[in-house]
Symmetry: C2
């Protein structure tokens, strides 16, 4: 893993510890973190595409501007659940987020 990437993640608030510990981040952990960051990027892109401010989006989902900022920055205190719920609130479809088949109803 590149040092630049470590710096980027640490800046986002992920407590990595020393380099040794960082290098030992398991693939699962990296996949999870990168999933969150990718969802965060998707959220920001959609919000901006709709011309909404973070305050406006916060009102729509009944949250706060600070939480929206944290969602979009990939803050470790934000769950994938919150990101997914927010993307749905913006009108994104399930197929646009997940590679999941229908429930076969």
């Amino acid at each position: 893993m590149k040092k630049s990437k470590q710096k980027a993640l640490e800046k986002k608030g992920w407590k990595i510890g020393d380099t040794q510990e960082f290098l030992n981040l398991s693939n699962e952990e990296m996949e999870y973190i990168e999933s969150k960051i990718a969802l965060a990027n998707k959220l920001r892109a959609y919000r901006e595409k709709k011309g909404l401010s973070q305050v406006h989006l916060a009102n729509i989902i009944k949250s706060s501007q600070s939480r929206v900022a944290k969602m979009e920055s990939g803050d470790p205190t934000v769950s994938i659940d919150l990101l997914v719920k927010t993307l749905y609130a913006l009108g994104i479809s399930r197929k646009q987020i997940f590679n999941l088949h229908s429930l076969g109803q």
Copy 2:
């Protein structure tokens, strides 16, 4: 929404309330619940494909059999985060779960 679907969700522990309230479940809420159930189904399919019991999987991810059972049944007390982390622990790739582009590193 079909009555049969309501029954199925209520059996899983989703507190829907009366029919009126159920009918008012927003699209976002339905998308969210169905996303979780789809991930739950995916998890069970992968675990069984690998020939693992819930106990074995619980050991791998350092959790408990009961939590694995709840994950696979779409229990409301299980987060998408936990489902995603568990899928990654089983070796599923990000692309297999999300329609997300790489972070462009």
